[in-house]
Symmetry: C2
Subunit: 418 residues, 2 copies
């Protein structure tokens, strides 16, 4: 009898009426003979309400106490969902993270799962119960409540599926799968039936926010068959249809000849570019530039250093726009004179556009098609960075939508080509 | 260094501003060298909100899941209060019942505390921390969350004080102590500086709702020095003054000669009277009447059977007004013919008035003074019931206030006599 984990987000759990709909959907799977574990998020708005209360008390809330408070949102959700299932005649039981237990480290507000004890849940499943477990939280070695940070319920669900050896983990969300790019920008964008973990990781980190990146990592590491699908369909649609919908995240490259070389176009406009010019090209220079930036807790994304010319080089990197001013200040104060840089310049008006695909590894010409497409649209490329399965470029931000649409078409991802 | 437990009700915790005031008060006690444990209730309205959500899902919410949900209200409170103390520079830590742990039986929604492990709390106290523990809840032997039922936070606080061997348990509430009777009815009512556990039990069960009755029982059983006092005073009043305010619940009768024979007048108008007339006076008849009533889960308060006359007797008892119709229906269906009773009659328009006092045991004439006072006011007595330290009468409900005022005066409880 197969074992399935369902995860429902805050919108799906947003009201008692919606919770009843979630219960109907779970009951359908249970009635079809599946052993069911469900991981719901807090009701939409609840986590923000709780954090708001905490902030009224302390501007920078104490992390341990914040977790104590924030964890209650999911505890209410699991109780309500268990009730909703019982009122449908389905035996169900709810657990908070510490009751399973879901063991984490002690990094409050951003804890990492260390292990999950499956025995209690397995006993309930063997007794025919639906087991409902809080997402987003666990318990540290000292018995303190911890939370995994925003979006952590995706990670909880995949980790639970891994610990139980579940056949599939279904992440119900408000989109119906993973798309070749954002349909709001490219109406011809297609839903992908399958995407590999590696592609999903590149898509997620590049700005497609369908599934939390740590959840994807877990799915890859523990080989959890994970599917992203819509929670907006009627709970009464046939199970077979529902089970095939959405996007399946797989572990192996699709071997079929028809497989497109790339699976999607990702983009974001959240970054800013900083260039340190005419830097002496000597060992340790990258560390001398980025060390102070890291010390200031500023995350760096792309890092590019061009070849040297006459012993001098240019060093560029991107940071989140919110940290642009802070990064410039750090460079001015601690780096510029120390390394005798020629100039430090920056640009907020940039966008990053990437083509992502496992097929890229075995197909030549992806880069040249990408650059030719952008050139034909008259879009200048400011920076280029590549990995095994993606090519990213930095362009002027006003061209972002144009670039995404042109690339989507030239790589054959539009509906008519699919 | 003395150890003090504070308990704050939902009104005191009703907003983040009020929580900051609670923190100021606790910080004052901590600064004065007391080791402090604090037991707060959920923020006012929160428990009702949570139960409301549960009822939207299930009209009769599943008891285990209801506890899972309801317990979150106090969990939020302890986290917020710990933050408020930290922002005042006081080291504090919060615990849910299961983290202490507070062990209870498995009677969801009305669990009873079985034991409290003091070791974790003691370690924090030794480290100079204020320890904040959720009221109202615990954990059963299987690791399920349980709640103690409405008002259970009083019981939690007194039980925690007992487990820790605290010097005193202070119950902060929205009245400033226990009064000789309700000041809304008798403006001359006086606050009692002291009251015995036994008197408090009679007062509480008779309708003075200052302190939960189970908390009083705990205080008596474990000899916890407990004080009821106001949370509406400024948190900045001198500690010595605050520590002497309110009403202290003691374990021994005051031996001083001046001690009044009775300490208060209690009353309630929530009951209805039922009389089964001309019942054969034979063994087992009381059980034949009340057995079916108890089977229907109807609580009975006073029970009176008069002496027999010609082998027949009248049997009367009181029930809550809400259960009056149900009780009559049970008697009609299952009792009347079975015991060949003459008639079954009832009366909703009754009130119970009681005089309560330890001094009653050593003073003759309490009953006669009570009956004379009522007679002088022209109030007819319908039923009489007595215990070691109280005399209760049932009268027509419209005379209740008059009776309370007259008794308060004749027993010397008015301000000018005090």
């Amino acid at each position: 009898m197969s074992l399935i984990v369902h995860k429902y987000g805050g919108t799906s759990m947003g009201s008692t009426e919606r919770i009843k709909n979630v219960a109907k959907r779970v009951a359908k799977w249970h009635a079809a003979g599946r052993r069911m574990v469900v991981v719901p998020s807090a009701m939409a708005g609840e986590t923000n309400r709780l954090i708001g209360l905490a902030r009224e008390i302390q501007e920078q809330p104490d992390a341990r106490e914040l977790d104590m408070i924030a964890a209650t949102g999911e505890q209410v959700s699991v109780g309500l969902l268990a009730m909703a299932l019982k009122s449908l005649g389905v035996d169900a039981v709810s657990y908070a993270g510490w009751q399973v237990p879901v063991r984490t480290d002690a990094a409050y507000t951003k804890a990492r799962i260390e292990s999950i004890d499956a025995s209690r849940v397995n006993a309930d499943l063997a007794a025919g119960r639906v087991v409902i477990v809080t997402g987003f939280q666990g318990v540290d070695p000292e018995g303190n409540i911890t939370t995994l940070g925003r979006g952590g319920s995706d990670t909880s669900a995949v980790a639970m599926a891994a610990a139980l050896g579940a056949d599939e983990c279904l992440i119900y969300t408000d989109v119906d799968g993973v798309y070749t790019t954002d349909p709001r920008i490219v109406p011809e964008a297609c839903r992908l039936e399958k995407v590999t973990v590696e592609e999903m990781l590149e898509m997620a980190s590049l700005g497609s926010k369908v599934l939390q990146i740590r959840a994807v990592e877990f799915a890859g590491k523990y080989k959890v068959r994970t599917r992203v699908l819509s929670s907006l369909t009627s709970p009464d649609i046939p199970l077979d249809e529902e089970a095939q919908s959405g996007t399946l995240i797989t572990f192996e490259e699709d071997q079929s000849m028809e497989k497109a070389a790339i699976s999607g176009i990702a983009f974001n406009r959240d970054e800013a570019k900083i260039t340190v010019s005419r830097v002496p090209d000597r060992p340790g220079i990258a560390y001398q530039i980025l060390g102070p930036v890291a010390d200031a807790n500023i995350d760096v994304d792309m890092i590019i250093q061009n070849a040297s010319e006459a012993g001098m080089t240019d060093f560029s990197f991107t940071v989140h726009r919110n940290e642009y001013q802070k990064a410039l200040a750090v460079l001015d104060a601690r780096v510029k004179d120390a390394i005798q840089a020629g100039a430090i310049t920056g640009d907020l008006k940039i966008a990053k556009v990437s083509v992502v695909g496992m097929g890229m590894r075995s197909h030549v010409g992806i880069a040249s098609l990408m650059f030719r497409t952008l050139s034909e649209e008259g879009i200048n490329i400011q920076m280029i960075s590549t990995s095994e399965i993606k090519i990213s470029v930095i362009i002027e931000d006003k061209y972002m939508e144009l670039a995404v649409r042109a690339l989507h078409k030239s790589f054959g991802l539009d509906h008519q080509d699919a």
